[in-house]
Amino acid sequence: MLKQLSTLVALLGVSMLSHAQETFPRNGAYDQRSGRYAFTNANIVVDSKTTITNGTLLIENGLIREVSKQVKIPTGTVVIDLKGKYIYPSLIDLDSDYGMPEVKIERRTGGRQTPQLESNKKGAYGWNQAIQPENEAGKLFTPDAKKAEDLRKMGFGTVLSHSHDGIVRGSGALLSLTDESANKAILNGKASSHFSFSKGTSGQTYPSSAMGVVALLRQHYYDADWYAKGGKNQEKNLSLEAFNELKGLPSFFETNDKYSLLRADKIGDEFGVQYIIRGGGDEYQRLNEIKATKATLLLPLAFPEAYDVADPWDADLISISQLKHWELAPKNASEVAKAAIPFALTTSGLKNKNDFWKNIRTAIEYGLPKEKALEALTTLPASVIKADGQVGSIKAGLLANFLITSTDLFSKDNVIYENWIQGKKFVLTAINAPDLRGTYALSINNQPTGKLQITGSPEKPEYKVIIQDTVKITPKAILTNELLTLTYQPDKKRQETIRLTGWLTGNALKGEGILPNGNVVPWTATFSEKFAATSPKDTASKKAIETGKIVYPFVGFGNEELPKSETVLIKNATVWTNEKDGILKNTDVLIQNGKIAKVGKSLSAPSGSKTVDGTGKHLTTGIIDEHSHIALFAVNEGGQTSSAEVRMADVINPDDVNIYRQLAGGVTTSHLLHGSANSIGGQSALIKLKWGGSQSEMLIPESKTIKFALGENVKQSNWGDVARVRFPQTRMGVEQVFYDHFLRAKDYAQSWKAYNAKKGGVAPRRDLELDALAEIIANERSITCHSYVQSEINMLMSVADSLKFKINTFTHILEGYKLADKMQQRGIGGSTFADWWAYKMEVKEAIPYNAALMYHQGVTVAINSDDAEMARRLNQEAAKTVNYGGVPEEEAWKMVTLNPAKLLHVDDKLGSVKAGKDADLVLWNANPLSVYARPEFTMIEGTVYFDRKKDEEKQKTMAVERERLIQKMLSDKAEGKPTQKPQGAQPRMWHCEDIVGVHAEHAEEN
């Protein structure tokens, strides 16, 4: 219904076009014209699939009336003979801010700021300043003559424009690039809705992270639904109202890279919305997953400049992925086309808009078919925005928006002469520029003076005066219509200038000149030879450009081919089973179908299996890091005291090299936690370190956990004096945060229960934050709580007891040794550091004997990292518990394997070497608790993701690939292509203390 309505609106818009200013008074006599033009003898490219050669296009009143080989031209028509020139539909850009008010984002600088907890937008709008569905591009639009002209010059006739501000950005308007009034320019004032991951001008603290944006958007959709179904009787909310009115319109999501693209699509899936997604130009790096989204893409044409890699040490700053992306970015559109993913092209993201044509031609050189390129700029965007009845092709009834070009639109020497918009002509290059090219005999004052040679193109002729067949002089020449001015110095040394002015007559030139001595003389240039074009190199005929391979993930140590699960027999190893059998010497382990098939002596190898000699080596299950922040795009949503609604699963970064580094240290599974910036943090993600795999391949979705935090971080003790606003500021306040939230969650769960029982009435408002807390109360989600001192640990246990929820794990728990008995009684695990202390007040009484004391009291103890560096030697950290407090070696080893598996409730599959469990295994060269131990290989589900020998080979391959790319860049530099100074992105290391914002700045200040 809504769809039909929007089409109707669009049609109305069209039919009213010629009368758009009916209501306006005129100054002077009415000047109505039919605007009837016929373009004959044209090659009319109707759309990417159809071309009419030698056809006629008839337009009237701003609309196309007829297109075909034979058009009966009515009398009273201006006929324009195009003499074989081309007509193309004018182009469409769907990601534009044309005519929108400037979005001024105050850049945050160093130093801390007082947090802005509430929206600064006054009025009956929603609570979050970054949610602005009430913004209507149609109402915000004011024509911008300069920008319209720039866009027309590039060949555009129509743009979809919206205010690029905020997460929910309101509606977009389909605008024609006419130079007339706004009333005429707006083709559809409410054509689309727009979204992004950027807060824009909002200075409100929430959301401060990508997962916070996801949560906010999801909640917004639920709120809008609730509002429509009855919430409107409880409160007036103009934002929700406006949002509901946008439903059904094409929805556009602006993203910056492949992973935010996938993240956006996932949000849409939950609400039955298929976003049209503007990507970042790196789609080729994850094509399969992107294709699976079924989204139509908007692709930018921004390609990175080459780096100046002349100095080998400076060039070290540039990573292989930067080098490879430089090489492959121009190939992106071609790859996307090859994968049959529908896409439109956009100029957005281009720093210099003049690069548009250059880059599109480069993309074609890199294999993008021309038809695809044309489709991506005309019919496809038109249909995406449901305006294919108005624009995008040359068909009767559509707007007379078209280009007149000299040849194939994408050819290097093509000239766009005119861009007609709504039947109005805009001249870019004079269409009937006389073709003066050729060689002429020059005569001044009736004396033969040499030759005049005119080459180049008719639009841009190049002149040469040749004297005595050898001296070539480039004169200054100005050609205006058919008038020509030529000045030149026959002899440079003498600095004497001859000045000629004249006109075209037949195929000759003649006129009057003044010689340096002041004599006025006649001159002529008589046509003698035709211009012979030196065959220009046709770029399209060049052979396909060679590029390196795409690796997964798209970083150093990535795989050209993903490793596969194998059948492996490991013979004669010392096997740390973590089971009753303990440590078995001279034992074999068989791995099949990703599982441990058998553990025993003298096992025989099934056919087709690989045998590994484990003599003198130790085989263990993979390390599980219970507290990790690797492979994440963000860690803290610190905008509010509780952020139970955010999910770390939304921000998994499979490209983080730390995945590979940790595999090299024997880690196979990591529990990715939210930070400790607030009392109730986000929902954690448990991942397997499948290097090269996708986000969903890595995630273990069954694991449902959540991060809580206590102490100095949540009360913001160490964030400086500006951070004295957010509740709580004391441990006293922290307790009340839990009571407040859990009591609300209880009520919430109750109200849903009541609603579900009676199956009628108005549903309670779905609250994602309380959902997560209700799951805790229902024992469906486990708490991992960041904690240090005994008072707060005791407090949370007592809160949990009184509200009848369970605490699963205390993490850090550096004073766990003081309360180990209480933890044991409640079955709460402790996941701690081996020996950290002294870095802040709350770790003053931390002792390295903590793990041992808790262990001896029967607490399930894990040793974790909270640190990308420490994680790759967690075996060493576990070993310290033997030293400090005498934990048996076998038990110490469990603290980084089986025990975290238990705490994460995955010990049915992970954590020990037992038939039937996942083959997540590490083969060590020595006792894994020794400082000298290092993994020979690390496998996950029977697939080897790290292998010491292959790692060495990889380094060599990388060096070769790197040098190939550097050589290529150097040749580019030698050819004079622009380069940029080397700069590398510093890998961001997350710790649980890192709060995006305040703390990160602090870290940089130090």
């Binding site: 990573s319 580094r661 202390w837 004997y849 400082v931 700069q983 590398g984 995006v996 940089e1004």
Partner: protein
């Protein structure tokens, strides 16, 4: 007005906290070792001398704080000596932890306990010597893992100040110090600068455009200092320049913190041209790129913690672990340290252990990174660094290999012949809570 009140309250709260911390410090650290009163002989141990030699079933004898004999079973004089049988155990020279803030940093988040960074840019006259707090609760925890010597190093500014090397035992700084004012520390302006984007919180590395300015400042400071040093009795006295005089006499080190290869080359060239006699590169993440240059110029390298991640995403995953061995094999003198860290230095032995496991060198070679090489770099190799006759009887007895978590179990420590009490606050808390649970 309101704000001011708030601040006062806040300060008051902090003062209370501090008073509490200080009180505890006084209450808890054990008494330092008393001077050696009679000869002692340890027998039966495997002695790792620190110079690469291993003596199975060896004997070590010492008197008045000085080693009198190191040799095989049966060697040496035991008359009148206390003979201690340490059969099956291992003896190592006291580990030396350079480049730390032990004694001048207590709790990182509490400003009042931080004494390592002075205001001002050029502070050669600032001395860690007199700020070193022997009552720090961190210090006893280091001895327990074999760290018997620690260099307290001022941080900050361009010229940070002067370091001193202390025993991890002593009544006060005068008592604990082994080497006073052993060197001046300088922060070389990095070739690459980090720039932080407050919009997306990313960090970008690019050329440091302000570098030349800082280098010019160095040059003029050092030129002035050299000229000042040439005057016998300069007047007026300039504390800063006076502090730099020993650099030109070769009696103290110039420690230059530099990470990138180009920085290292320029720093060394600068120091030589300025007339500085002894230069040490500190940090040196990229020192492996200029190993031959360092060897030629006989410049030792004090590495920052090698338990770190590679600096670049494409770098060999194990590069930091392999780094000390790479330099060692190239003929560069290397020490491994825990720069700017304090409590973590108790893990110093494990940095060396890792460098052996990943760097393809023997544990005895790796041991030198934290014993002999460190002693030579600070110019105290006559007293410490190896177990040899005539040197300080400052060593430890461990149940096993000190470089390995599986062996690092220190049961006995002697500092200048005095037997050190290995108790610390953490052990006392351990005992306290063992008591709690024994009642269950």
């Amino acid at each position: 007005m309101k704000l001011e009140k708030f601040n006062i309250l806040n300060r008051a709260a902090l003062a209370v906290l501090m008073a509490f911390a200080v009180q505890q410090t006084h209450a808890q650290n054990v008494a330092p070792a008393l001077p050696q009163t009679k000869p002692i002989v340890l027998t039966g141990a495997t002695i790792h001398t620190g110079s690469g030699q291993v003596i199975e079933n060896g004997v070590i004898a010492f008197d008045k704080g000085i080693i009198t004999q190191v040799g095989p079973a049966g060697s040496g004089n035991t008359t009148g000596a206390e003979v201690i049988d340490v059969k099956g155990k291992h003896i190592f020279p006291g580990l030396i932890s350079l480049n730390t803030t032990v004694g001048i940093q207590e709790i990182a988040s509490v400003r009042a306990t931080l004494d390592f960074s002075e205001v001002g840019e050029v502070n050669p006259h600032i001395r860690s010597l007199i700020a070193y707090n022997t009552d720090s609760e961190v210090i006893p925890t280091l001895r327990g893992n074999g760290v018997l010597l620690s260099q307290a190093v001022p941080q900050g500014g361009i010229v940070s100040g002067s370091s001193s090397v202390f025993y991890t035992d002593g009544w006060n700084w005068e008592d604990a110090v082994l080497k006073k004012d052993d060197g001046i520390w300088l922060n070389w302006p990095a070739f690459l600068a980090r720039s932080f984007n407050f919009e997306d919180f990313s960090v970008t590395m690019k050329r440091n455009e302000n570098r030349q300015e800082v280098m010019d400042k160095f040059k003029s400071v050092f030129a002035d200092a050299k000229a000042y040093a040439d005057v016998a009795n300069p007047s007026p006295v300039n504390l800063r320049l006076a502090a730099m005089k020993p650099l030109f006499e070769g009696t103290t080190n110039l420690y230059i913190r530099a990470e990138y290869a180009k920085d290292i080359v320029e720093a060394v060239k600068f120091a030589k041209e300025a007339g500085v006699k002894k230069v040490v590169i500190v940090g040196g993440d990229e020192s492996y790129k200029v190993a031959s240059f360092l060897k030629e110029n006989q410049v030792p390298v004090v590495l920052n913690p090698t338990h770190r991640l590679p600096n670049r995403v494409d770098e060999n995953v194990f590069q930091p672990y392999e780094l000390p061995a790479l330099l060692h094999k190239a003929g560069v003198k290397v020490a491994i340290t825990y720069s700017e860290e304090w409590w973590r230095t108790r893990n110093l032995a494990f940095l060396a252990g890792t460098s052996s496991g990943y760097g393809n060198i023997t544990p005895e070679e790796a041991l030198q990174f934290i014993t002999r090489n460190a002693a030579e770099i600070i110019g105290a190799d006559k007293q410490i660094g190896t177990l040899e006759k005539g040197k300080h009887a400052s060593f430890l007895v461990s149940e096993g290999d000190i470089l390995d978590m599986r062996g690092n179990d220190v049961t006995m420590v002697f500092i200048k012949g005095g037997k050190v009490n290995l108790d610390d606050k953490q052990k006392r808390l351990y005992e306290k809570y063992k008591t709690k649970y024994s009642k269950n």
